[in-house]
């Protein structure tokens, strides 16, 4: 029997497969057994009600989709009063995702969500359609450090810091988050993009610019996970374009301790469960007793020439 459990600092997950914030809610119990998941990751909430952006909020692009939902939320109070109890119908640890455009309010929110029912606080400082000073703090190490430090001071809960792939030097941001006391990094949020409809000449989505997710971003986020995992001591959670078992393995080889997936939930709502099962089978087939042993197991050497030459069909 393969041991699929992983540790993210002090938090133990039954397996490394988690949904990504914004692509998940308790409503998905319609289509899968939520108790199988490594964790339950709630949609990002801000303190007050937000309507979000005008529709259409998504469009397809090469490699996946572009979205600008605009972080609609019923607000923090509704989350604590209504959504948290709803999530507690299920057993996996609950990850609350919070955001704010003001560092002090961010810290205050962290304090307020630090209730027993919440196992982890994910801080979304990387909403791609917000500006560096307000909401998209993850574009600059100083902003990141400042906001994370305040949050760290405000709570004893494990804090996962969700980074932005739109930062030029993601390693510097990762180090700043670690220095400020983050317990883990989530790499990463969506990549800012644009699609124009050549029929109408208008942007394909209501907000014009949006975040790109799906398989097309995987090789880019893979590189960031690898760079961050090398640069920090805290665990890194890989997130971007995962649609199959091998994608989970690839992220773990690059240094991820666990993964999150969003896009695939839209494509095949129940696939997370299939991936969890498949991951166990993959480990068994490859002789890994513990999935955790995959983390950082990439062999950091060029493919042996003999491999490139596997093209030479050695009968």
């Amino acid at each position: 029997m393969v041991d699929l459990s992983v540790r993210i600092g002090s938090v133990r997950l039954a397996n490394p497969v988690m949904p990504a914030s914004g692509a998940f809610s308790a409503e998905l119990s319609q289509v899968m057994d939520l108790n199988r998941l490594g964790a339950l990751v709630a949609k990002t909430v801000s303190r007050d009600f937000r309507a979000g952006n005008p529709p259409p909020r998504v469009a397809e692009v090469e490699g996946g989709m572009i979205n600008s939902i605009g972080l609609p939320t019923k607000g923090l109070e509704y989350f604590l009063k209504v959504q948290v109890p709803d999530y507690k119908r299920f057993t996996p640890p609950l990850v609350a995702s919070i955001t704010s455009q003001d560092p002090d309010d961010f810290a205050a929110m962290a304090r307020e969500v630090s209730i027993p029912e919440v196992a982890v606080i994910e801080v979304n400082i990387s909403c791609p359609t917000r500006n560096p000073g307000g909401g998209n703090f993850a574009l600059h190490e100083d902003h990141t450090y400042k906001v994370m430090q305040g949050i760290r001071a405000a709570t004893d809960k494990p804090v996962w810091c969700k980074l932005s792939p739109n930062a030029g030097d993601v390693v510097a941001i990762a180090k700043a988050a670690e220095a400020a006391g983050a317990d883990a990094l989530v790499v990463a949020n969506t990549i800012l993009g644009l699609k124009i409809d050549t029929k109408t000449f208008r942007p394909a989505i209501g907000n014009k610019l949006g975040g790109i997710s799906g398989p097309g971003i995987k090789p880019i986020i893979m590189r960031m996970v690898y760079q961050c995992a090398k640069a920090v001591k805290i665990p890194v959670i890989g997130c971007g374009g995962i649609v199959k078992v091998e994608d989970v393995v690839e992220y773990m080889l690059a240094g991820a301790s666990a993964v999150m997936m969003g896009y695939i939930i839209f494509r095949n709502p129940s696939s997370m469960i299939a991936i969890i099962d498949g991951l166990g089978e993959w480990c068994a087939r490859r002789g890994f007793a513990r999935v955790a042993d995959l983390t950082g197991a990439m062999i950091d050497e060029p493919p042996a020439e003999t491999y490139a030459a596997a093209a030479a069909p050695i009968g």
Binding site: E27, K43, G52, P55, P56, M65, N67, I69, F266
Partner: protein, 259 residues
């Protein structure tokens, strides 16, 4: 995975798809939809599912029917399915139409493929001996689909067309007024045209006739989490956003703001 039984063009834009369905799928209620994984129409991949409401259900034979219009990659991809292929569909999803016992006569007003969405509720009404008047609006006669389907259920059918001007709002308004006067309109149902929805909403408000509208919005998950599919509604003077996929697609006509 549902095997495709038949798949034919009903005119140059609309296709009629019949699939063999699981018991779970056959439990679909009028106005509910499925989120379909359409094959790609080209070399590229198709990344998101496409929602389609059910046009008819044949529980005896265990079949579900869709009537859809080809407008883009997803629907043109869907149109490629051959009998024998199988279709990956998630559902039934969403909140459908409902009938109240006190309603003896209803009016369904649809345009284009909106008719597809209205067909099942009309059928159920017919089975419950509720009188159904179906006002079917279209560009021209060949787009007046499913007339026979409404006829089968004994609905009185009024076709209105752009080609002869009968689809003009004033004319449809007059028809509705006449039906109300004749006591044939205990409730309104509509889908497929913003213009006609606004009309029915106004007349419904004036006469205090309850109404339901099936709405659409671009979707991603189809299940509630992603908040991609919102539309604006007005509840007691206050604007609210609701998700078409899980809080709809059928909404109270008077709360709908339209698009």
């Amino acid at each position: 995975m549902c095997p495709v039984i038949s798949h034919v063009w009903v005119n140059e834009e609309y296709k009629h798809l019949v699939v063999e369905a699981t018991p779970k799928a056959l439990a679909v209620k009028p106005g509910q939809f499925f989120n379909l994984l359409c094959p790609s129409p080209d070399e590229g991949e198709l990344w998101l599912r496409r929602p389609q409401s059910v046009y008819a259900v044949d529980r005896a034979q265990g079949r579900i029917e869709f009537l859809y219009k080809c407008v883009g990659r997803g629907t043109f991809g869907l149109a490629r399915l051959q009998p024998g292929d199988s279709l990956n569909m998630v559902g039934p999803l969403g909140i459908g139409f409902h009938l109240r016992p006190e309603w003896k006569n209803i009016v369904v007003l649809g345009r284009g493929v909106g008719l597809a969405t209205l067909a099942p509720i009309s059928q159920v009404a017919g089975e419950q001996d509720v009188g159904v008047t179906a006002i079917l609006s279209a560009r021209s006669p060949q787009f007046l689909m499913s007339g026979e389907l409404f006829a089968k259920i004994g609905a009185e059918i009024i076709g209105v067309l752009d080609s002869d001007g009968t689809s003009a709002v004033e004319n449809v308004a007059a028809i509705l007024e006449r039906l109300i006067a004749a006591g044939r309109a205990d409730a309104f149902f509509t889908c497929g045209s913003n213009r006609l929805m606004q009309l029915m909403k106004r007349i419904g408000r004036e006469h205090g006739i309850p109404g339901q509208v099936a709405m659409e919005q671009v979707m991603a998950c189809g299940l509630g989490p992603c908040y991609v599919c919102v539309r604006t509604f007005e509840v007691k003077g206050e604007k609210v956003l609701r998700r078409v996929c899980i809080e709809g697609p059928v909404f109270d006509l008077q709360e709908a703001v339209g698009w």
